[in-house]
Symmetry: D2
Subunit: 367 residues, 4 copies
């Protein structure tokens, strides 16, 4: 399709600009008979929505989602699910001044070249606001996966120089602070760091990690639609992401085979350097992925750029922005992971439903 759809059997297609009338999404291929309500989607949307702490943009959007189709008597019908979120707090005037400006490290320049002209209000389609519908669609996927015993969870593993300490890792903490940090101590350091950064008028990058547990063995289609390849596609498609790792990721560059290979015993895998995927197919262990998000380029600090006339200009971005786009990225990353997993669950089921495996099933070593 034309770029705004993702998934083969579980397909998500989105529309909407930062300052348009609304954001929308069609979730096609959702299995029938699944209990689904707007509340199910709202929970994750609220985790992503702006203005929940002083560390994110102060744009006020309730991000209230409406289910327009595909659900009857509280259950999915198997027909496409139409979702809609109206934009309420647009303030387009904030942006009129940048109509002819190319903000450095933004999509202004490339959109203008690709399409000839662009909706310059708040970045239009290139705004991270687009990700709201990914979260809504991802919540649908999570609901279906939950019925299969699959759980997808994410957390912020590093914010600028502050990395979490695995010894203090606590899933409970993740929803207790503004950063989705599983490490309470790191979270308070981040508070201090972000306050200083905001005063400075600068922004910072972050690292997000996502895990999926309960994933059955066998998801993923060799050779191009490997599960890890589709996860990489899904996660790299999130705004500001510049890197994706599965399992040990780039650390494998300096690992030896004896160190990396996850040995197996009748009791289970002895390690999970692979991040739950071998040969592009899920092993039944926990699936682990990590992404790097760049610092936002909407800064109060002046930057050099050019305008549509090619003249040198100085850009100072006012308006409301996230000093660290990574902070709100955790639910987005979870959503994309969930969408990929459900899509592959359905694909695998379609093609291999007759397979009766009599082979030993190994649990994940760490579970």
């Amino acid at each position: 399709m034309s770029g705004n759809s993702f998934g083969k059997l579980f397909t998500v297609t989105t529309f909407g600009e930062s300052h348009g009338l609304a954001l929308g999404c069609i979730v096609d291929g959702c299995p029938p008979g699944i209990a689904l309500s707007e509340a199910d989607l709202q929970a994750d949307l609220d985790r992503r929505k702006p203005g929940t702490s002083r560390h994110t943009t102060q744009r006020r959007e309730p991000d209230q989602v409406r289910i327009l189709s595909g659900v009857f008597d509280g259950k999915t019908t198997g027909t496409p699910i139409g979702l809609l979120i109206e934009n309420t707090d647009q303030r387009s005037k904030d942006y009129s001044n940048i109509a002819d400006t190319f903000r450095p490290a933004h999509a202004d320049y490339v959109y203008s070249h690709k399409y000839g002209f662009r909706d310059y209000r708040g970045g239009g389609r290139s705004s991270a606001r687009e990700t709201a519908m990914r979260v809504a669609a991802g919540a649908v996927a999570k609901k279906v996966l939950a019925e299969k015993g699959v759980q997808v969870r994410g957390y912020l593993s590093q914010l600028g120089p502050i990395a979490i300490d695995q010894s203090r890792f606590d899933w409970e903490q993740v929803e207790q602070n503004a950063f989705f940090s599983p490490d309470a101590k790191a979270a308070s350091e981040m508070e201090v760091y972000m306050d200083a950064l905001r005063k400075e008028g600068n922004s910072i990058g972050a690292r997000i990690s996502v895990q999926a547990t309960g994933v059955p063995v066998g998801l993923g289609e060799p050779v191009f639609d490997r599960l890890d390849a589709d996860i990489a596609h899904a996660l790299m498609s999130i705004n500001a992401v510049k890197g994706v790792e599965i399992g040990d990721g780039f650390a494998v560059v300096n690992q030896k085979g004896t160190e990396h290979r996850d040995e197996m015993t009748p009791g289970g895998f002895l390690s999970n350097h692979a991040g739950g995927i071998l040969g592009g197919i899920s092993t039944g262990q926990t699936i682990e992925a990590h992404i790097a998000l760049k610092p936002t380029s909407s800064l109060r600090l002046p930057g050099r750029s050019i305008n549509a006339a090619g003249e040198e200009i100085e850009v100072v971005t006012k308006g409301r922005h996230d000093p660290c786009v990574g902070i709100r990225a955790t639910p987005i990353a979870e959503s994309m992971m969930a969408i990929v997993l459900l899509d592959h669950l359905l694909r695998h089921r379609g093609q291999n439903a007759d397979v009766e495996s009599v082979l030993p099933m190994l649990g994940s070593a760490e579970s």
Copy 2:
């Protein structure tokens, strides 16, 4: 499609197992009128083929490709291009002993679960041998891209502990050593390292980098088919790859906005931290991607595993294997990058052919 196809308008579909009769590929969507011969494909195939140095598997495969269709009077006709490589040096007996064995960190276990049974000879479809057809298809893409002034090149940037020194970077060197290293001194260190590793019976990971120059502004389809997302999909689909970076990649986690944003001047971009892609669309700068490849798990050193009966066993992999699969991965990574770029070139052309950009066109700062 079902996992063995890649690309929307320029589509590559492959088949073939490590020890089957042949490997094949259909390249669909190649523009007509392009001069193409088997020699064009053979050059890259020879760069990838095994047994060219003592540092790769000693399996002897000429990897002689035949063009069976889609080319007439030396030019592409616009119809699908059928490519075939016969397997010659199979030695299946090497593998009969592992029919019921799950080699640790191999796809044996997951394939057996997914499909119920598997072609165990040399890993069957999960073997890196499958990548030969990617290289053949990529060579077709490179040929077309070359006519558009787009060049795709790769190199090995790190082998285990040995990273190249940018101050010694020399494209000329890349084809002068067995490692595709642009740093001659690093290459000789790698020789020593690999000899020791081979004696030890172990394997090691590697990092490969790919660049594309001459890419026009505007390639990439927001939001899910972003150029970087498709590149991530393509590169992560290569055997043994565990991580993908665009531009600065994971380094952005600890970068500030003022440091990361690539400022623009009438003279061009002042830096390229973005790796030539903003908002998922090419900027006209050099596109830069990096991948991490895990160490192969086919080792002489014994490893713990189980068999199909679930009994604990010790696995010692004999046969012929690459102690560093990264060594032969450079042409594969180039090929996948080329396939993605050509596919997006055609897609962009189809949808935006009428766009007449009167905007300033910036060169890449470093070009």
Copy 3:
């Protein structure tokens, strides 16, 4: 994708049930810079909408469409166009009684089996109401095609026993009567026929014809995505359609080669038995397609059926229905044809943009 999307580069994805909150659609891949307003879409929606004459269902739906995204300053931006129509006149009570009933020749029985349960209100997703969004999306395609000099028009060529007389064919007439008949005399006969049919409580089939003029030579992708194959797919996907013909259609069964072949002269083709398509590719002549629509099965006259318990029942369908679904099908057929043509125009442009044809270009004989 999962069944609710159509088109490769110009992609239409729809959602919505007959008695849900709204119908919606995402038009992805529309070229940028095209002037587009809601009025452009409303014109065709009004041609399709119910209750415009006594010969169609009396359900009152304004079918007012809203453009929610993808258009800025009155022009398409190249980003997905979100379209929405709210349902206003639902009267679900009309249907509560058929919750456990399988109406003969309706989708009730198959939906119940496929999905386990169904939205029984007015046929839910299987209702012809779904076609409203096809018309809205088709209107977008028509607007783009018009800029390329391509015009798509349709008409009703037969209603039950009343076929139009080619000697009285007048395009002007098509919009002058309730039937889209190009033959005024036939139209008045249809008036009489339909009045009698309505009294009788029965329904009737119809034949619709669609033409596209100004189509350039070369659209269509061999071998499976032939232009005629995609047109057949598109038209057969319209509710109640049971047959599709291109050009002479089934008449070719008893034609000889000398009679069927469209001879060429420097002045143009001497005939158009092929309907403007050879080898699956447009010839530059007028493209002609015809479809057969079955009589609706929602009748006042009792029919034998069963209920969800498998018990024999008698079905009498009250409520508001079209005694001839074919009457409102003309704009729907035009829309699907337009969507296919634009999709192929973009695909051809993407893959063959470099082709510089120096060959003779023939006009259509009859143009």
Copy 4:
């Protein structure tokens, strides 16, 4: 993909020109564990192959197929199945004279415009020879469907003026004559008719019918990927096909609702005017489709045309051709039907595997 692939989960991609080195195909998505041998494919290939009677082209092609991958120990592995048929009897010299000629009603003119130049040998890719691989792929689908109790069969229902007599319908006869006619008497009339036609140097059209029995309720994805829409796409993509009907097809134009609707009783459907498909979904009754094939345009009788220079010429086609392409089309139509059914079986299974239907299951009235 780019036109040479068909199917979503069960995907067939073909390559090959009439006079190229070989024809090939990749069957992707075939479920694992199915017993499959070259003999399984050869049976149908032999039914289609040329030169088996004096009524088809005298080109001698053994059409010997080789399975190059995807099958191990006699069973499918779930990996792509590579198929190859070498061309043996090409006689390209027969065609050198038409390099600059546009044969009327052939694809010469449109291919030349679309691609800028063409492989003129025997029609290149536009030759019906391409359909050999459809038959090979279809045979794979038939084998899988057979395990599900689904049988796909076809027959020639009309050749020019000679239609079969339903009262003499006998499936046994279909393989007993050169025409796939289920009516022995009609077959002998066809012998006479074809002999006269051959002397005359002319060609004739035909009508082919395809049936599928044992199809479960529920196959087909509303709204665009309806089962009938995909069947129409598949059948219209066959060379020379100009019309497709499902069930009563064009006869519905003059049917009333009371006549057309297939009433249901606890004992089953009382009729099958719908051809086994309602709302785009299979009903469990026999699926019935019919196609119209045009007369071939390769005639000894001279026809008016132009050459690449636009000059008027007279075309007399020598070489070896089918005076009725419909004669060999039966196995091709069966194959396309089988491919569609298996693809939808897998899709339905993937998305609705959890549906536990407790509803009454009706048999087909005529079964």
